[in-house]
Every structure is written in C-alpha cells, then in structure tokens.
Symmetry: D2
Subunit: 357 residues, 4 copies
C-alpha cells in the first residue's frame, strides 16, 4: 500500500463533486489527480473553475486547486491520469459516459441514478450487500469490458431506513413498510431549491424520489442471478418524500410489518450488533457502528445527529409499537456524506480492500 | 340579532387567547367583553397585561385593550360580564375551571385537551359532526347544569386529514390510515419551541400528539349513545408527529385503505362536493369550501396554502395510488386559525345558529 | 372615471410581474389587459406561461390567466392594447425597450435600475418627491416623445429609510447617514438566492446594492434643473447591505447627523405628521400614514411589521441618541410591495391623479 | 506538566456550561472535576441533571456525566475539588459568588457581565490585552485575597471586530467606529429566543448589548493604572445590535475612521501579521492565526466561516473605502466558542502559561 490510487472525479465542479474532493483530502488510499467538468470549465485550473461557487466549509485542497479541468470526452487523458473515477455526472449524460469510461478500462463508482436498475450493475450499501460486488466479473463478461466496470450508490433518501430494515429483514422477513421522509435542501445540489420556495415552508414533492425510495431497497436486498440481480419482491414500501428547510440530513419516519413480529429487544439487539464488511475490514471512512440507537424520546434530530460517527452512521430512535403494523421508528442519515460522496468513497474502499481496484 | 353576544376569553394572555381576540375583532355576532388570565395579570388592563408579549401582527383591538383582566376564580364577574366563554386554559387547570364555569351557567367552548374524551362532551369539527351537539342537553342533565355546558375542539394536528377522510368515510368506510405530520412551531404556543431546538432541524416528537392524532378522529366519527358518545372503532390510525421549522400550518402525509377501494374520481368528487352546516348556515367564519384540492404536483405547500379561504379550509393535493393501501395524499391546514381559535369560533357560531347560545 | 386604464406588464412572468398582476387585481382605476414576456412564453396564455412558477399566495386572476403573452418586440400590439405599462424587465434589456415603448407613445413606469440616473427621468417616491414629475414634459421635449415617457421607482433597499430621513431633512438638513440593511430573499426574485446559500446564514454582499443605496436618495432629494435633475449633494450615505434568511421585508439600521441636531420630539413629530400627495389625493394604494412609529423597544420586526398599512408604510422604531452622530433608529418596509410592484402602482396612481396618464 | 489542573464549572447545566464541558473534553492541561448548578440539580449526577436538556452535538464526556452536582453555596467542596473555576453563572448571582470563590482562594474565569467594569478586574482577549493580567496581584492586594482572583471575558458581540480593530489601532489610532451586528440565536442561551420570535424575522434589539458593544473595547484597549484600569477614551463606537435567524456566529458590519487614514495594504498587512501571546505560547485552543482575511466579495458568511481555525479565529472580508469614514469591512466570529466557552478557556490557558494558575 505504498502508493495511493489515483482518482478522477467526473462532474467535479458540482456540489457532490466538491464533497468528494473535500472528503478525499488526505485519504490514506486515494488521491484526486484528475477532475472532469463541462466544456465551460475546460482547461481552467480547478480553483478557477469553481471560483465563486465553492460551497464547502473547508478550503479547496491545494493539490486539487491546481489540477487542470478536463472534459468528459477526453477519456484518453483520464485513462492515463487515474486508476478509477467517481461519477457525479448529471443523469442525462451519465449513462453514455459512465459506460464509455468503463469500456476504456476505468472503473466507475457512480452517484447518478442512470444505472441503478441496470440488471448487471451492483447498487451497494457496503454494510448491507457487499456480496453484490460478485456481479462485477459477470458485468465485465456481459459487456466485453476487461478492466473497467460500473458500481452505483443508491439514492440518498433510502439511507436512513435501509440499513435499519436490513438488520431486521434477515431474521424476521420484513413485508410492508410505510416511510415518510423529511429531506434537506442540500440533497438538491446547488443552486437546487430556491430559498423563496423553502423558507418557512414544506414542499411535499421531490421529483422521482418516491419511486426510487420504494424500488431501490428491493434490488439491494435482492440476490445474484446468473447474469443479473434478482430483486427481493417479498416486501413492499410506500414512500412519501418531502423537502424541509434543513441544510443537511434526511430523516425518515418508518412503520413496518414482518412475517413474524420481532420483540423490541430483538430489534434493538439487531441494530446494536449490526455490522458489516466495512467494519471488519476497517475501511477508513467506515463508521464504527453503522447504526446508533438513541433512547431519548425526542431523538434522532436532524441537526444534532447528522454528524454521528463521521456522518457515516444511521441514527435511529423512537422504536415503539405501531397500531397498524408491528413497529415504528425514526431514522436519520447525512445525505451529502453517507448519502452521497461518503457513501461512494466507502464503496471504493470496499472495492479496493476486496481487490476489485 | 341586534345585540352581539358578550364573550369571555379564559387564558386571554397566551397565544391562543391573543388569536381569539384578534379573530373576534369586528365579529358580527360576538364581542369580547371579558378577559381572564393568571393572578399575575389580575386587575391590569389587558394592554398592560400583554405588554411585551403581544404576538399578533394586528394591534390589540382598542375595545379589548382597556378591559380589566380578571382571574379564573372570579366566576361571579364572568357570569355578569359574558354570555359564554372560549377556554384557552392550560390543560392542568382547564378541567376544574371549565366545569365550574359550566356549572355557573356559562357555556364553554374549549381548546384544552382535558375534556376531549369526557363521554358526554362533544368534540366538534363543524363540517364533520355537527349532530354531536345533540349531546348538550344530555350533558346538562347528567350533571345537573341548567344553562352551562362544555363543547371542545379537537387537536390541531388532526385538522389536515380529518375532514378529507370524513368525506370518504361516509361512502367507502375507511379502515386503515397512516399519517405523518409536519407541524409548525406556533402549535406549541409562546415561548413554545426554543429557536435553538428547531432552526435547521426536525424534532420527530411532540409530547402526547401521536395518541391524540390516533384517537380523536374515532370520537368525531362516532355516534351518540344514550348517555355518551360511541367511538367509531371501524378504523385504525397510526401517526408519526414531527415538529418542523415553519411558522404556521400543519401538513400531513396520509395513506389510507377503505372497505372498498374508491376510484380517484370518487375521491375528488367527494372532496369537491364536501360541505356542511357552516356552509349551509353561512356562518361568518366558515370557509366557502371546507376542502380545496390543488392539482399541481407540488401542492399543498405550508407557506403558500395555509391561508386558503380565510385560513379555515383544508388544502389537499397529490392524490395518488399507494403501493400498500388504496390511496395517498397530502393535507394542510392552518394550525392557529382553523386548528385553534378559528375552529373554536366556528363551533360557537354553529352553537349560536343552532340556538344553543 | 367610468373606464379603467388598460395596463401592460413588461416582464410579466417574473416575480415582480406576478406581484403587479396580483396587486392590480380589482384595482379601481387600472386593469391588466396586456402581458409581455420572453420568446419562450410568446403566444401561450399567461396561465400556461407561468405554469409551475406562479409564486403568489393568491391564484392568478382569471382575467389575466387567459391573456395571450406577447414579446417585447411586438410594440404595435402593446400600443393598441394598453394605455401605459409597468416595466419589470431585466436590467440588460430594459434600457432599449423602455425607450422604444416611450417613443411609441406608451408611458412606462419602471422597476428596472437602467434609467434611475438618466438625467431627465424622474425617480419617484410619491410621498417624497412628487414634484419631480414636472420633468416629464421636459423629458418628452428632450427626446421628441409626444405621449410616452419614463418614470422610475428607486431600489427596494432605500425604502426603509428614505421617507423617514426625508421627513427630517426638510427642516434639519441631514448631512451624514450610516445605514446597514438586512434584506429579505424575495428581493432577489425567483429562483434568486439558493436556499443552500442562506439557510442558517447571512451573506454580507448584494451586488450593486450598496452604491444604489448611497446614491439614489441624492436624486430623490434633489431638485429640477432646466433640463435635468440636480442631485442633493448636501449629505453622504454609507451603506452596508446584507442578505438575511427572511422571506419579505427589508430592515435598515440607521445613524444620522443633521446640520442642527433635532430633538427627539421634533423627529417623532416630523414622522407622525409626515404625509404627502398620495394621502391628500387618497390614492387607492396609498398607506393611511406613510410612516408608523412603534414605541416598543424591540420593534419594528421584519415578520411582524412588514404588512403594516397594506404593506405600503415604513415602520420605524428605536429612536435613540447616537454616540457619534445625532440619532439612530430602525426602519422597515415591505420590499416586494412598497419596494417593488406596490411602489410602482402608487407612482402610476399619482400620474393618473395628476393627469399625466 | 504531569498532572492536569482540576477545573470546576459554575453554572454547569446551562448552554455555556455545556459548551465548557464539551470543549474541555481531553484538554491537555485541564480536567473537569467539579460541577456546580442550582439547588434543583444538587446531588444528582451531572448526566441526570441535564437529562433532556443537553444541547451539544457530542455526548456528555463520561468522566463528567458521573460527577455529582453541587450548589454554589458549597464552597468548601469546591475548594477541595478544583484548582480554579469557570463561571457561567447568571448575572444576578454572579457578583456575590464569584467574589466569594475568589475570597476562598479559587481563581475565577468568568463569562458573566457582572465584573466587566469592576476597576481592578481584567477583561481579556488573549491576543489583544494579555498584559492586563498584571492587574491580578493588585486586585488581590486591593481585596486581601491570597490566591483567588477574578478575570473576565468580554461580551460575545464584540469578538467579531475588536481584534481586527486592535490590529489597526496600535499604529493608526482608531477614532470612530460604526458597527451593526447580526447575532445568532445561540447567543441567548437555551431556551433563549423563542422560535416564534425569530423564524422569518429579524429582531433589532438585544437587551444591554449595544452599550456593552460600545463600552467594553475601551477597557480592553485601555491601560493599567496604579489600582485600576484606565479606559481608552480616544475612540467612540456606535453599535446597532440585531438578532437574526442563524444558529451560531456573530457578524459585524464595521465602518471606522483613524487619526490618519491607513492604506488598504497597511490594513491587510496588519491583519495578516496580527498575532499574540496565545500563538507565541502555542496555547492548546489558540487559533493558528487570530484573523483570517477572505478576498472573495461575498465573505465572510456566517455558516461557512464561523468554524474557521477551531472556531477561535475572526474572519474578515470586504475591506473597502467608506464614503463617510476611512474604511469599512465585515467581521465574523463564533459566538459560543470564541465568544463564550472557548474564549474563557483561552484565558485560562494564558493564565496557566503565565503561571497565574
């Protein structure tokens, strides 16, 4: 491990790109060596390209500030400059270019929604379905790719409840879930939500978010078929997704029913003991505990709990009986860290530790 | 109708009391002639009593500003000064004093939660269960009261979904309801929620609110027994109640299942045509339409829709199929007007039009 | 006055245009008959053109919803369809088109900053400098315009302190003013300020705002020369302009020094008695009193006081001695009503009452 | 330095007390061994005493959670348990008890305003007036105290501009300062500002804050007389203090005039090179640079810059010429860290390094 892997960021000037660059600063295994953005930024230094629109609290790391911004079309330079890329491309262009990068031998870890339901592309929460990475050689074979591949991160809205449900699903077979999310404005990027639309307001609609919230967990809880993932259709989720005036942190109110009702102790114990590959492998950005339960009656709270355990953990609370289903609880996770760049980095760390990178 | 009824406000210096006084300014039927508050305010003018803590945008009406504040113990003066009272007393003292006022011959319309489940006390949403007022003579007989009685208003959290569900329940028998509320800070009164606890935050807990939200609609949808109300146990509600950083307006995300699934058109038509006694009787504070449906994909919104139809209507939107239950939608109502003082005044207007006052 | 003047709105689909349309609904003298927007909206109905981006609480007035949107180039249609126009054009295009409209015989009342310092264009606060309208015939002569002319409204940031200072300037000659503004996000239009940039934040910079705040009062307090306005250079303003997370309402903290120090009573009396043409002429949108003084130690407040007197008044408070200058106070006005569309309408009402329209 | 000093916190359960406990966790020199609160908390463990009202993001440090809470009257126990105390007592009780503690031989570093203008009590910003600590032996002699003494921290509102002005005052003699503050809600403690009073609002009044802001710098810039501090009356400050809806961070808009106008370069250089005892002595909580200048036109911003350099630095920006005075700029500091507990700890570190503790 004497040399760091060289990392490229596709969509490096947007909010998620900036978050990647910030979180990768001083990363023990990875080093940002390549930044890709739109034509308007091409050949500027990264510092010039983001002048007046750098939105992170920390300054731009010096080593990234002086990188020359390339366009996504310039794959040749990417292939020379980096060992893999994080894609924060906008959905409309992500499909074409992520495939071209993979075809050119560059592994892609993507935040875009384009490939989330592509049958041979793993959608990974490292603590929940690391075994889905076994699809990578199949994907490469399907497509004739030698070294490149695509792995994706699920939507930020599901991070607050998927791990807590996964911890229970294994033993008690979850069947029905109602979830209402209260999502922060950073989830929409920048400029994202106009302040006039959200100050002193709740917007009970986020385009496409409810169907993502209902569908993505079925793939994540699914299994590997011969050529494609088999979705877990044993449970159904109904989602209401709302935008609320908070900066960071997505909260979810969840009611669920299982095949057999677990006891409160069984659930708390499942959460307490929940752990996964990132913890066993001691991945650098892994939270110590993926799930933190708080026993106070009014927690988790968005501002107080979003940063728990490097902002990489889910905080849950208020576990109580539900008059219609078995149990209800509240979950919270940080949407731009665990739910975006941090989640992507954890996938890359897992890929590296598992020798896919 | 040449003379206005004289009205007393119990708990006149608090937020709900101030809202009553503001909404009753220039009321065609009622006139505030009597204000009751704690010992600390006694014998001050009302203007002096609320100095530095008047929270309404409008100024104190002159006629109220100069009233002398009395204590709740001084029932004799109340009995002389007013024909009925609105009670915005704190729950701990409300039980004793509301009963004493009723016993002294003074009808009480109450915002307190104390008597909401008292078997012979009507809990009224005027468009939904006006026939529950028929319990009043029974209540008076039960207790030996000649002229006084107690009628209560339900909790503000249920206003955003109870009327929309009532419109459907009549014909399609609602059986199961999931509701997640996002409630404004004015619901907690003043000082209420500390700003440090709610700026850039969501608090997924409001003491007692979930059980109220689950239980109160069963009484409202219930029927009159011989001596007491019979609750409607044909449906079950599961509620998640949250405090969000908005000033006014409670939003509810609702999923529901009926005995027989209604069509979308049936629901929209039920909402469109929903009307009740307040509309037929043309009560002064009645909304023209109790339910407004908005067809835009991102409405209702808290700030944009809370003031609809004198802030007395429920605005609904986003009616769509639910993967688990039959349908889901979003409802919104103004918590301090429809959900508090305005709702109380509408009850009093109904009582007056029906000759109970 | 049996027929209403027909009004066109240039830039009708933006926030200020929407505000004009909302405020002109049921106006006793004016009727919106013509709406102009960019090519993208051309030939749509107004309702279609603003679908998904109508930001007012009130619905689009029916009579405007069905108007066909025209482009600014189609002056011929404008000339037929309206007696004068309000311009809410963006600054870059305002200069050319406002002049073309005036040249075509259509009077223009403008919100744009383009012509604020054009020497023969009056910049009007109706209570402060109505006599500046006398420049109109000179302007027409200067330019060879027969019927058309241009009159402009000053920047929203100066409304909170210009009238209060004008009331004192007449008698005591203001010489130095420090002003720090705290301006609401609606001042930036829609989408305007990104929520990520302003939630839990203050941005101490608004492009161009400080120089406008320092310079515009000099023209407004100035006098008519033979061909051009003579600025009042007897006083100097230093402005700090900040964006704060409030929806509507611009607050200003002001310290000022006069040639001769007025007494507190003189100032309060000047404010109390301050009145102008809009009040004498009983213009429909004129506030009853242009300046409201509040004696509480913590007023004015943005949310509580912005709607005072139809949101057309300035609310002042906290008049106290200043350790460096003579006095300091706090002023507040509603930026999208008094400071934008409402201010423009009041100018048009004045023009109409004075027979310029 | 093998043993840590034992520290007591007076007023340990309030917001400032909690901030002290959080910031002192793992401090290299100090260890919280003693917690003092009101009678209501007495003899509870600290964890019990703050149950339901612990407002920090980090959990209560274990070592403090199990301490037994004492009352302020129990000085004997304090004298045994700690080497010095931080006082976060409420102003009304602070005077009596801080003096009693000092008399009992326990040095007091205080956040309370009580003793800020006591003639022989140093009010310290460690980078600005560390030499004021020389008053300590005089104070002890004045009062017959052997080992105890009182040192105070100035008000949080002045931290954003006092150091930047101090850097200029030395060489160019500041004479006049206008300052308008925009202060966060955490400055009022908890519950502090009611959310209903500040959401979508600005409150242009904070009791007592303007006189503190105008007067305290005169003592800090003052000199030691024989028995008492001599205030620096060579300059005058006029302050407007406002509460705005931000969580943490106090911003100040500042205009100033000097005896001789400095150049822009002189000011920037004075800020860039500004440093003091905390930096020379490498105190644990000292910022690397006390003043950070940002050259972007829209910085500092409250949320983005408050945490700069351990939240212990002042961030300044927007230095530009002032039409009335010489220059204007914007300053920002973190009010509960630099402006409260962090500022207190830095004083204690200075006292320790200088052998006063």
């Amino acid at each position: 491990m004497n040399k760091k892997l060289r990392v490229g960021i596709l969509g490096a000037t947007g909010m998620v790109g900036q978050q990647y660059i910030t979180l990768l600063n001083n990363h023990p295994w990875f080093e940002v060596t390549h930044v890709v953005a739109s034509q308007a930024s091409a050949l500027k230094t990264y510092a010039q390209a983001v002048e007046g629109r750098w939105h992170m609290q920390q300054n731009i790391p010096d080593s990234v500030a002086r990188l020359t911004v390339r366009t996504v079309q310039d794959i040749a330079t990417s292939a020379e400059s980096c060992d893999f890329v994080f894609s924060a491309l906008d959905t409309p262009v992500a499909k074409e270019w992520e495939e071209q990068y993979a075809a050119a031998g560059i592994p892609v870890v993507s935040n875009a929604s384009t490939h989330r339901h592509t049958p041979d592309v793993p959608m990974i929460i490292p603590e929940v379905n690391p075994e889905h990475l076994k699809m990578i050689p199949i994907q490469q074979k399907n497509r004739g790719w030698l070294k490149g591949f695509i792995v994706v991160k699920p939507n930020c809205s599901i991070q607050s409840y998927t791990a807590p449900l996964a911890a229970i699903h294994k033993t008690h077979k979850i069947q029905k879930v109602f979830v209402t999310t209260m999502q922060s404005i950073s989830g929409a990027g920048h400029p994202g939500v106009a302040s006039y639309d959200i100050l002193d307001n709740v917007v009970p609609y986020i385009g496409g978010e409810e169907s993502k919230s209902e569908l993505e967990p079925r793939k994540i809880f699914g299994s590997l078929g011969e050529h494609a993932f088999v979705y877990d259709e044993s449970f159904t989720i109904s989602a209401h997704c709302n935008r609320v005036p908070t900066i960071d942190g997505h909260m979810a109110c969840v009611s669920f029913e299982c095949e057999k009702k677990p006891t409160k102790e069984e659930i708390l114990s499942a959460w307490e003991s929940f752990t996964g590959e990132p913890q066993h492998l001691q991945l650098p950005l892994a939270p110590e505990k993926p799930i933190h339960y708080r026993s106070e009656e009014n927690r988790p709270q968005t501002r107080l709990d979003r940063d728990t355990d490097k902002a990489m953990a889910v905080t849950v609370g208020r576990l109580r009986e539900d008059p219609l289903f078995h149990w209800k609880f509240v979950g919270l996770s940080h949407n731009t860290i665990r739910g975006a760049a941090g989640g992507g980095i954890l996938i890359a760390e897992l890929l590296y530790a598992k020798k896919y990178l």
